[in-house]
Symmetry: C2
Subunit: 338 residues, 2 copies
Amino acid sequence: MNRQWVLAQRPVGLPRHIDFAKREVPVPTIKDGEVLVKILYAMMDPAIRNFLNAAGSYMTPLPLGSPIVGVVLGRVEQTASPALQVGMIVSGFGSWSDYVAAPAGNFSRVPDDLGSRLEDYTHPLGTIGATAHHGLLSVGNLAAGESVLVSGCAGAVGSLVGQIAKLKGAARVVGIAGGPEKCRRACESYGYDECIDYKETRDLSAAIRKALPQGANVYFENVGGAMLQAALDNITKNARIVVCGLIAAYNAVEPLAGPTNLWNLVVNTAQIRAFRVADILPQHAYLRTIHSEIATWIKGGRLVYKVDVRDGFDAIPDSFGCLFSGAHDGRLVVKIND
Amino acid sequence: MNRQWVLAQRPVGLPRHIDFAKREVPVPTIKDGEVLVKILYAMMDPAIRNFLNAAGSYMTPLPLGSPIVGVVLGRVEQTASPALQVGMIVSGFGSWSDYVAAPAGNFSRVPDDLGSRLEDYTHPLGTIGATAHHGLLSVGNLAAGESVLVSGCAGAVGSLVGQIAKLKGAARVVGIAGGPEKCRRACESYGYDECIDYKETRDLSAAIRKALPQGANVYFENVGGAMLQAALDNITKNARIVVCGLIAAYNAVEPLAGPTNLWNLVVNTAQIRAFRVADILPQHAYLRTIHSEIATWIKGGRLVYKVDVRDGFDAIPDSFGCLFSGAHDGRLVVKIND
């Protein structure tokens, strides 16, 4: 049988266990060109939260009763495509299920010749690593000697962004996180020169100014809301604000207030550049370049990261909830099958 | 003597005559490397309004009692620089005065070999033309076949953006303006396929969706506020939002609400790109390319534009106020001297 977590009702605010329902359906059969993938790890990504909301004007919402979609790591069990063979470890968009049947092109083989552990493919060698690397270097166009500001800096993506910035010669890297423990980790492990604890800061804009008197050349945005407003007060001429995520908005019941200081963009001839890692996943050669460089850093012991593995299919809804309460440490994934 | 309009008090909301004071001072003397320019036309640009406010965290405000700064067109009366000769017509940043003394590099000679009238150098062959051309084509990177949305479309910049978009092969060009008269001009004269009268529109987002069902590839922003919010609901994948001005914010007493739908940037992997024409004014070769192309359009009768000339130094404060009330038609300038 094939277990699935489906959307029982649309969450209001933070997602709760009751918003999801478990069901069992037959294992899907594959058609020509498709593969059957047994899912080993389901990734807990904040962006999933967006798909659970009712229709906005701009995004197709997940229908009630549908399996929750997200990035997965799995093993090919059956194949009707020359592109992928049985036994290969692949990653791609799947769902919170034991099995998924989909066109082979939806999945890419993980580069196991990089010699890394399976868990690494859920984090630095998976979509998180690609998000941090692509976002900071290609979208943000970071140059050596520049300064970087990162919100959500102790999260999975943020923890890599700080280190990659340093590895690429950033002059100063400042993070924003919630709580002393996250700030400690950011500075001790994730390459940050300084971390602002926004929960203990009354005037975030002033705190950033103190930490980065010259402003940020690149602001890597994972959060939005008040963080974006404060960051906009502290950008350099020709700054790039890279929007990776806006987690502050995902669980908001009312629309979050937008930044009132967009004029700073004009004053500094700055740009806001949003991206989605999903768009680069089909660019296999580019992705390979990114992951090869990250693998080199891993082998050289130059990259610190942590995968927080929760065990078992039934742990998915509560694990997803943890993502927003901050009760996790590192990249949060659920191991579904061996 | 040298007449000047200086900042008497900081305007609250719309600028009023009483915010400015007239004074007479001696004609300045020039130092080595400088020129004395007799100002013929003072340009009424909305951006001047920003410099009249008290200090924000990001911009040096104009001190009380200082001459109001802005773009001017003038004639070199004295020179202590080999770069500019007496009698040349030049443009650059000056002030609301009869005379200004400044380094020759602050001014550039207008390309009078383009064979245009003096007034043209206040509009399509001046900063307005450069703003529209550079913003739409270089910053916005418009490609033939794309769709364009423009706020403030009947204003000086907007009136050129619509026409340049069409001249460059845009598939559909939609404008937003206030009132039936401006909308009529936009469609009849300025190249717009359709113009939305925001004063008569309850749901601006829905109105844009109706006019541009596929969304805008380029949104040229002159206004901000509710316009930006509505435009963000209607962008295509990889859209470019070019921020030229945010006139809605200039006279606001309270900070204007920011857009609550920035998530649309992520969904569409879109960018907000702000620019200032001041940054390209020193790039003489590039500016020359822009103005040469515009001159070709003018000579070919392919560009419609109107200069609204107000007469006399004393007309400056009220003319500047007109800029925000909409009681003008075309590029608003004040003729100070012959």
